[in-house]
């Protein structure tokens, strides 16, 4: 929709240009979120796309994958990388987790036409519980780089970036710069499950399991909780342990896309499907994907 109170668009070329950001001046990436709601408090936008950040960069200098090959690269995703670009990224050597990138793109409520403009960073910054880029970044234990307004840089786990339903670690004037995915996570086996109140509806729960090459297991629970919740184990837990830990999560929420009690229950179902899928000794597969 037209943002009728916006009087200026500044095309950012340097980090200094971000100094204009403030209560009435917001950063603009794809625009699919900003232009989808009235923004009567805004008088200006600073276009981040003109900063020219490379969308996707393979990183090879910090291989901690433990695969022994040493060839498995990590991935740096610019905040301004579109979801379409991410969805088309080909697999690099050793990226067992590669299918997860596309799977998470499909969890976006918006259509593939939205993918053409919506950005990975914008999705994280909207900080909706159902934000699939939050799910992805958290599940892969990515680290986000924040450009603080004072010129400093700050890194933090993606899982800590989103703090609640539409709240995050950014303060006014800060900008999310990038998401760094470690090679070790990309080398892991992953299992993805999403459920909504309709077949392709806005996510009611998105659960991602990641079984690292060293057998450690992380289950990331999103969309049903107001912020990402991660359950970590030294190895795949048994069904009872996992079910108990899901049941113990305390930040389920209710909105038009599902009631809290249902989100908790179906997260238990999805978690067990994920556990079973990643358990090499248990070949029974679920059918909820």
């Amino acid at each position: 929709m037209d943002l009728n109170t916006v009087l200026t668009i500044t095309s950012a070329r340097h980090r200094d240009d971000l100094a204009q950001l403030g209560a009435g001046v917001a950063p603009l990436a794809g625009g699919s979120d900003l232009f989808a709601d009235p923004q009567a408090h805004l008088t200006g936008l600073v276009d981040l796309q003109t900063l020219g950040w490379p969308a996707l960069t393979l990183t090879t200098d910090a291989d901690t994958s433990g695969t022994g090959s040493g060839l498995t690269p990590g991935l740096t995703i610019a905040a301004t990388c579109t979801i379409a670009e991410l969805s088309r990224l080909p697999a690099a050597p050793g990226w067992t987790a590669h299918p997860l990138l596309f799977q998470c793109c499909t969890a976006l409520y918006g259509s593939f036409k939205i993918w053409n403009v919506a950005t990975v960073g914008g999705n994280l910054c909207a900080s909706l519980p159902a934000g699939p880029m939050t799910s992805l970044a958290a599940a892969l234990d990515a680290e986000v780089l924040i450009w603080r307004r004072d010129g400093s840089d700050e890194r933090m786990p993606a899982s800590a970036f989103v703090t609640g339903n539409t709240t995050n670690a950014l303060r006014t004037g800060d900008v999310l710069r990038s998401i760094d995915v470690p090679a070790s996570s990309l080398a892991a086996r992953t299992a993805y499950r999403k459920i909504a109140l309709s077949p392709l509806g806005r996510s009611g729960a998105v659960l991602i399991g990641r079984l690292d090459t060293d057998s450690r297991f992380v289950l990331t629970v999103t969309a049903g909780t107001v912020r990402p919740v991660q359950l970590r184990y030294d190895s795949l837990p048994d069904a009872g342990t996992l079910a108990g830990d899901i049941a113990a999560i305390d930040c389920w929420f209710t909105d038009a896309h599902g009631a809290a009690d249902w989100r908790r229950a179906v997260s238990g179902v999805l978690a067990e499907e994920i556990r079973a899928e990643l358990d090499a000794t248990d070949l029974e597969e679920g059918d909820l994907s």
């Binding site: 699919s32 009567a40 309709s198 038009a256």
Partner: protein, 923 residues
């Protein structure tokens, strides 16, 4: 900013915060539609350098240097792209408002993409079709209508009744060239923005408008001081006394959050919105009530306590009671005493939003008067998105004290309605603004306005008690209805009475009792919605019947067979219905058999693997009168043009995706024995024809169509007489009409010759219809479903609808109406709910929080037609636009009950609700 737009250079500067959608419309590319303005519906889809985007969330400035392609850039009438051609041929649209964006999106799909079509089309919403025809258009396929074979085309020649003529506007719709309400450039146009109440119930102590009025570019600030003092109802009916007069254009009391409080008219929408933000309102909060049960209790806050019951036609303002019905036929106590089986239950339906893709909108302006050139005789013109332009005309004249000739109301093609446009929601305030400023004024609802300001479907609590003997014969039917009509009583009486009508009279029971009430609350108003109350009550009654069949131990189809009215039975609610309602034909028996055998035949959709999937079947029936009661009037004319090549049909009813225009062309072509390309239709304009009650109550074919047929027959007679004047030796009755002229043996007179001879006295026929006699139509829906007991997911494995539409005028189009009705009802049954927070605030105020069905959500419904011939409808036709919706929710609920052993009693049967039925909290 420079760009290439459909290959043409454009050099224009967007506003900094402007989106591409409105920028393209500023360039008069009206093929780019607004359905939501939030990136959810896809109606605005365009290509930017070949990539499809939702132009409503695309910053306009980013189009600099790009190539932008709209649907018009893909092809134009006469030179359509293959994908556009396929949408015409497959009837891949009804109202057509989503079509431009749908086609732009589809144009980017490759052969391999088709495997992923549900996902790739999830950003394109269609409210009319149910998507089967759209999918056929995209794939270039034709899905069989049912398991029995193709629908019989009964017409003698393509284009006549009984054949599947494509919509006359098809080529324009698929290229975005068919104008809708706002697709017009009006010089000097001002824009109107409305300030909505933040209070659920309050008196306005004061409104400070000086800052708003002082803003440069503001032409008027309208408050309750500017409003006519005449009470009216936003609801429109043939008899204006049907609805309570409880509404003012602008009121000093607000009764729901979101109600119109003030309006600003300004040079631009941006200025109007800015001015609205400068208006200061001092509210005196009043106690409010949000629960319809609480509203009836003694001491409840009174929503319209000051109204005069008689003058406003409110049953009891001191009890928030808008309307009530209490009546008994036979002896309900005796009937229950006689029963060996009694079932009883309570059902609850939710608020549903119509979600027509074109939001409500009106443009108004003044023109120099012609007929009445007396003192300052200017004429007010309203171009509006309405199902009822003539009824709007009447009421606007009444409100503003205008002589009828001083007002013209017309519609362009209307982008969907479903009952939501049987209201005055924009026309009144635009009329006020135009009369105040003397300037052209536009008011366009946002999608959020639709959710927070326009009436929703009535939520109802339905209590049903049934008694039956051991054979399953009903001995008692007792119905209780409590409807929440919200803050205003528009459609409250009508929906309550109609809801309790054919739902009850469908069954032959010697003892019946109905107690129905419709009450005010401080919630969003409720209004007219497809089915007009029947769907809600049928949900309760057909669910109860299903339970009864289980209790008695007979098949639910057999239970209906045993108890449904037959063509010789009286139709009884609480007394025998009036003699105007007859069985002009009867096809319920066929519908029951068709649905039952289709269900038995099954289909090849497998049950998902796993023991947690439970399978069940269910069915439900519905009956509907083919016309609203107490008069529904239509006038029509057909004129041969001066060249003798084209017939012009003038008719008052509106085209909003119902397809009446197509059928009218077929009716005229059949009566005049010509081809449909020689028929032009001018419609829904108070200047075009004398009168039409409007496009509601499924009246487009059986009322307006009958008037068109009468007019065409009248013209045919006129042409025969005119031919005899040229050849006195041939009797008038001996002429046979042909496309080019009239023939009698070897003698042939061309239409051109007759037209030339007639000169300025045009050859014209007229017809009218009054709806004095009404028939009934039937629909039976059946489902086979699988339910995931772990998650509550309901998966539809087979969907069947059998319909008694009389002689089907246009098989593909009628099929589309049924598919669309089933689709909308599946949305109601499984997904849709306008949620309020309990204090009057709508929390589902954007489309992404209100889930209407996507292609991915819907099965292909098998459609079966009963073979009947109605004595009232044109060529034996019956109405078939509201009724397919009505039996769907109970049929689905009955199937879910069959699958899981627990009866859902609340809509929507969302996954969380079904899951909760299966996993109740242990206490």
């Amino acid at each position: 900013m420079r760009l290439q737009l459909n290959g043409e250079p454009v050099d224009a500067s967007p506003a900094p915060g402007q989106c591409l959608r409105s920028f393209l419309r500023d360039q008069e590319h009206f093929e780019v539609k607004k359905g939501c303005d939030t990136g959810d519906c896809g109606a605005c889809s365009v290509l930017v350098d070949g990539a499809p985007v939702h132009s409503c969330i695309y910053p306009a400035f980013r189009a600099e240097g790009t190539q932008v392609t709209t649907v018009a850039g893909l092809g134009m009438p006469g030179d359509l792209a293959p994908i556009q051609r396929r949408f015409v041929d497959a009837a891949g649209f009804q109202c057509g408002f989503c079509t431009a964006g749908m086609i732009v999106t589809a144009s980017t799909l490759t052969e391999t993409d088709l495997d992923d079509l549900p996902r790739l089309l999830k950003g394109n919403l269609c409210r009319c079709t149910g998507y089967r025809a759209i999918e056929d258009a995209i794939r270039g396929t034709h899905t069989p209508v049912n398991g029995l074979g193709p629908v019989i085309q009964t017409g003698p020649r393509h284009g006549t009744v009984g054949t599947s003529l494509a919509a006359p506007a098809g080529e324009r719709v698929v290229s975005g060239q068919e104008p809708y309400t706002l697709d017009v450039t009006v010089p000097g146009l001002l824009h109107l923005s409305v300030l909505q109440s933040t209070e659920a119930h309050a008196r306005i102590r004061s409104i400070r408008t000086s800052a708003a009025a002082a803003l440069p570019g503001v032409h008027a600030v309208l408050t309750h001081g500017d409003s006519p003092a005449t009470l009216f109802s936003t609801a429109r009916h043939e008899d204006r006394l049907d609805d309570p007069d409880d509404t003012l254009v602008l009121d000093s009391v607000v009764r729901f959050r979101g109600q119109r409080v003030a309006a600003v008219v300004a040079d631009t929408l941006a200025i109007a919105e800015a001015a609205c933000r400068l208006i200061e309102i001092d509210y005196e909060p009043l106690p409010a009530v949000f629960d319809p049960h609480a509203a009836l209790l003694p001491g409840a806050p009174l929503v319209h306590g000051e109204k005069d019951a008689g003058a406003s036609r409110v049953a009891d303002p001191a009890r928030n009671l808008v309307a009530e019905l209490h009546g008994e036929y036979g002896d309900i106590a005796a009937g229950l005493a006689e029963a060996t089986h009694i079932v009883s239950g309570t059902w609850q339906t939710q608020r549903v939003a119509h979600t027509h893709l074109e939001t409500h909108a009106t443009i108004g302006w003044l023109e120099p008067g012609t007929a009445d050139a007396s003192a300052g005789g200017e004429r007010l013109i309203l171009r509006t998105s309405s199902q009822v332009p003539f009824l709007v005309h009447r009421e606007i004249c009444r409100l503003f004290d205008l002589a009828p000739e001083r007002l013209r109301v017309f519609t362009a093609r209307v982008g969907g309605g479903f009952g939501g446009k049987q209201e005055i929601l924009t026309e009144d305030i635009v009329a006020l603004a135009v009369l105040k400023t003397g300037r052209p004024v536009q008011y366009e609802f946002s999608r959020s306005d639709e959710f927070t300001l326009s009436p929703a479907r009535h939520p109802m609590q339905i209590q049903v008690t049934l008694g039956a003997d051991d054979s399953g014969r009903l001995t008692a039917l007792k119905l209780g209805v409590l409807a929440d009509t919200g803050a205003y009583g528009n459609h409250a009486p009508g929906v309550m009475f109609h809801g309790s009508s054919e739902s009850v009279s469908l069954y032959r029971v010697t003892n019946k009792r109905v107690d129905a009430r419709s009450v005010y609350t401080n919630n969003l108003p409720s209004g007219a919605f497809r089915g007009y109350g029947l769907g809600q009550v049928i949900f309760g009654i057909e669910s109860a019947l299903d339970e009864l069949a289980r209790t008695v131990g007979i098949n639910p189809f057999d239970l209906r067979r045993r108890n449904s009215v037959g063509p010789t039975d009286p139709l009884v609610v609480t007394h025998v219905e009036g003699e105007d309602l007859i069985f002009g034909s009867y096809g319920l028996d066929q519908c029951l058999d068709l649905a039952k055998s289709a269900l038995a035949r099954g289909n090849d959709v497998p049950v998902p693997p796993g023991a947690h999937w439970k399978v069940g079947e269910g069915m439900a029936s519905a009956m509907i009168a083919t016309t609203p009661p107490r008069g529904h009037y239509a006038q029509a004319s057909v004129t041969l043009d001066s060249s003798g090549t084209t017939y012009t049909v003038r008719v008052g009813t509106a085209e909003f995706g119902n397809g009446t225009t197509t059928v009218h062309a077929q009716l005229a072509a059949t009566a005049l024995n010509t081809t449909p390309d020689r028929i032009e239709i001018v419609q829904s304009d108070t200047d075009a024809i004398g009168y039409d009650t409007g496009a509601f109550g499924s009246a487009g074919v059986v009322i307006a169509g009958k008037a068109v047929l009468a007019a065409a027959n009248d013209l045919a007679d006129t042409l025969r007489s005119a031919a005899t004047e040229t050849h006195p030796e041939v009797r008038a009755a001996a002429w046979t009409l042909e496309p080019g002229g009239l023939r009698s043996g070897e003698t042939f007179v061309t239409l051109a010759a007759l037209a030339e001879r007639a000169g300025s006295s045009a050859l014209r026929g007229v017809g009218s219809e009054d709806g004095a006699r009404r028939s009934v139509a039937f629909n039976v829906q059946a489902f086979r479903v699988a339910v995931d007991t772990r998650t509550g997911e309901v998966r539809i494995l087979q969907s069947i609808q059998a319909a008694d539409a009389g002689v089907v005028m246009n098989p593909e189009q009628c099929r589309g109406q049924i598919e669309g009705g089933v689709a909308q009802a599946i949305g109601t049954a499984l997904y849709e709910e306008v949620i309020l927070d309990g204090a009057g605030t709508v929390t589902t105020s954007v489309l992404r929080n209100y889930h209407i069905p996507l292609l991915a959500d819907l099965p292909v419904t098998e459609v079966y037609f009963a073979e009947t011939h109605d004595v009232l409808g044109p060529f034996g036709a019956k109405s078939m636009s509201e009724s397919p919706y009505n039996p769907v929710a109970p049929a689905l609920a009955n199937a879910v009950r069959d699958a899981i052993g627990i009866r859902p009693t609340e809509l929507p049967m969302s996954r969380d609700r079904i899951w909760r039925l299966l996993h109740p909290v242990r206490t």
